[in-house]
Amino acid sequence: MHPALLGLVTIVIGVGGCVGYFYFSNLVLDKFIFPAKGTDAGRNINRANMVRPWLFLFPAILALGMYLAYPVIATLWYSVSERQVIDGEQVNVFVGLANYSQMFGETKFWEAMRNNMLWLIVVPAASTAFGLLAAQLTDRIKWGSFAKSLIFMPMAISFVGAAVIFKLIYDTRPVDQNQIGVLNAVWLQFDGGIGSFLILRLVPIATLLCFAALVAYTAWLFLKPLIKSQGERYNAWTLPLRVLIGLGGAYLIFLSFRSILSLLTASFPYGEAQTWLTIPFWNSFFLMIVLIWIQTGFAMVILSAALRGIPEETVEAAIVDGANPFQVFFKIKMPQIAGTIVVVWTTITLVVLKVFDIVFAMTNGQWETQVLANYMFDKLFRANDWGVGSASAMIIMLLVSPILVWNVYNARKEMR
């Protein structure tokens, strides 16, 4: 049968089956099992109404249980067991943490972890920052909604499509040919002169300094109550969190300054076309750009809505009191959209943790660009090692679980 026809038939059967299930199960419940007539009419109606929610929920619970809840447990089991053939039958034998220790012994795993951490810092931060910038700018102009939909557009493009798009940008040709990749064409314009110094050293250094200042400011906000605790009270429970954020901030600042130093001393290979995706460490950033490009639109849409939701009186009052635009932004607007920023940040974090297609299509983890999701796919379907593959899947689950707990906690709070 032609696949299109097959698809059509399935749509009819699948959707018809679903609707039929709901219709007939309700019919059976009302007409035959607990008919709303005769002597027990009232009691039957009550009984039917007690059963009905479960009738409505049954397919969803079945699908959720089978396709999401069960796999979590099964993966946990696979990660602590090993496939063995006993008496001609394949069984899983408990092996404790052997898979994990095997995985921890692999350099590829640590490479994936290191890259994932980089992704987790850079992509949400950059997407949120660009999104905030775009939201701020587009909200002030007449054709803002048009500009927004264009920036938002990459959201509709598949990771694979985006990978092709960016492979074209990063393309490299031999020395004697015209460069057809934009990045190399731009790169060849730099010759080590004053322009190159400005763009390749000063601008990145300024960006890094801004980043360091932002980190320092955030860390300071969290640490302030600890250092000068006059009047300001803080929850003792948050103490470890605050210290942790402080330490993490200090580390990030240290990293930024180290990068600034290396930027100042590094010598760039001007005039040579680069194969961007094979330069270790930096190639991860070239992959991240793809995801940032996609996710910025998302951040922009959400943050723009949040910015519009800010009561105008608060801004007006600040301006009347003589606040400058920066103060208005950082002291009035930022605190009011902080909750939304957290939501955007965590959402992008989830996307980053699952990122697979981009790495798979562009480098497949070669040249030290491995990430966890691709590492897992590698283990599962190429090495056919279910134990280690499941163990790495559990690591992803572990990284996701703080967000899971936080979401559930918030949802419960909202419902009350």
């Binding site: 929920l57 102009i141 694979v160 499509g161 040919q177 934009v182 998302f298 301006i319 899971l404």
Partner: protein, 384 residues
């Protein structure tokens, strides 16, 4: 908003320009792909796509007509002559210099006559017209000419023909396109139906355990589907579904359900209680309330989830790779086909760009047509 208190924004132009730059930066990559998909392989590999929009000076290797072709060679005044235009037909091209050897491509100017071996000569004009003469009969292939020419923008639909209509198994996206469609449509509709009923139950029916179920749905929202790959593949193989459409539909349904239930429940809870209670008083059953009142009212939420699920299933690679595509490759989807093209035809940008654009065209259309609902859905359920 910032113009109040008398400070008229003097940054207006700066804002406009920054937005233009930002939009240009964000559009640039996609436009590059689109433009490249309309260029021939030679054009793509000889110059960057941004140059193709303007007349460019290019070094080209062209060939005269083959003397052996019927009627190409004529005997005029005792010399054998082949004449015509190097570009096929006289166009807007403008040759600045030319040569007959790859080592000296710029020794002649238009109108010059080059002496070749055996008394042959060739004259090339600025617009590409040439006259190639020889005292003896010419044979073999046409004479090569290396020209540096200013050529106007030139685009072609050939790539799309190759990708969409040809029978070439590796290049043709037609089958993959239909396969993707076959995956996408049921995988979008089925979860909506299931989730709508569940969301109604969670929003408007009272039963023990409701709160826990809602919390579970929220928790499952973030469970990475990577965890599900092996257990489910094993399950599918054990119960005999194997790799195929059915398993893929079910997997997409399972993975899409939490977001669907979450979005729809949040929306349905916000519907006015009065309508539902009035209907109950009038004797409507839950099933009737659901189909006659809730469903029509929930259209915006249904639409926004439908777009999400459509984009997600259309763009998916991982689920298709694990649950659908078997060794025969008969059921390949577009994303997978493109990844394979990246491997086998990594240098053939014309095919790659066209294939990629074919695969992103449909989501783009959906995106621009239904953006309103997409944004609404994002704002309602930005958790996944």
């Amino acid at each position: 908003m910032d113009n109040i208190a008398g400070s008229k924004s003097s940054l207006g132009w700066a804002v406009q320009i920054s937005v233009v730059l930002l939009v240009a930066l964000w559009l640039f990559p996609t436009v590059g792909l689109l433009v490249s998909s309309f260029r021939t392989s030679d054009q793509i590999s000889s110059s960057g796509w941004w140059q193709s929009l303007f007349p460019t000076e290019q070094n080209l290797t062209l060939r005269t007509a083959d003397p052996d072709d019927d009627g190409a060679q004529q005997l005029i005044d005792g010399v054998y002559t082949v004449s015509g235009n190097l570009f096929g037909e006289a166009g807007d091209a403008d040759i600045s210099v030319w040569g007959t050897s790859s080592r000296a491509i710029d020794i002649y100017t238009p109108g010059d006559t080059a002496e070749l071996n055996d008394g042959e000569t060739i004259t090339v004009q600025a617009n590409g017209d040439y006259v190639w003469t020889s005292p003896t009969e010419l044979s073999g292939r046409g004479q090569r000419a290396f020209v540096t020419a200013e050529t106007p923008p030139d685009f072609t639909l050939e790539n799309y023909q190759q990708v969409l209509l040809s029978d070439n198994a590796t290049d043709s996206m037609a089958k993959a396109f239909f396969n993707t469609l076959t995956v996408t449509i049921p995988a979008t509709i089925i979860p909506i139906v299931i989730a709508a009923f569940a969301a109604y139950a969670l929003a408007w029916m009272d039963f023990p355990g409701r709160a826990i179920l809602i919390a579970m749905v929220v928790g499952l929202l973030v469970v990475p589907l990577q965890l599900a790959l092996i257990p489910l593949l094993k399950l599918h193989l054990d119960i005999g579904i194997g790799k195929g459409y059915l398993g893929t539909w079910m997997a997409h349904t399972g993975f899409g359900l939490p977001l669907a239930i979450y979005l729809l429940r949040n929306y349905m809870v916000g519907l006015p209680r009065d309508i539902i209670e009035n209907a109950k008083v009038d004797g409507a059953t839950d099933f009737q309330i659901f189909t006659k009142i809730i469903l029509p009212l929930s259209f915006p939420a249904l639409a926004s989830f439908a777009i999400f699920q459509f984009l997600w299933t259309w763009n998916d690679l991982l689920v298709a790779k694990v649950f659908l595509i078997d060794a025969t490759g008969e059921t390949t989807v577009m994303t997978n086909q493109i990844v394979e093209l990246l491997g086998t035809r990594g240098g053939n940008w014309e095919i790659l760009a066209t294939a990629a654009f074919v695969s992103i065209a449909v989501p783009l259309v959906v995106f621009f047509a239904m953006q309103k609902y997409l944004v609404r859905g994002l704002l309602a359920g930005s958790v996944k």
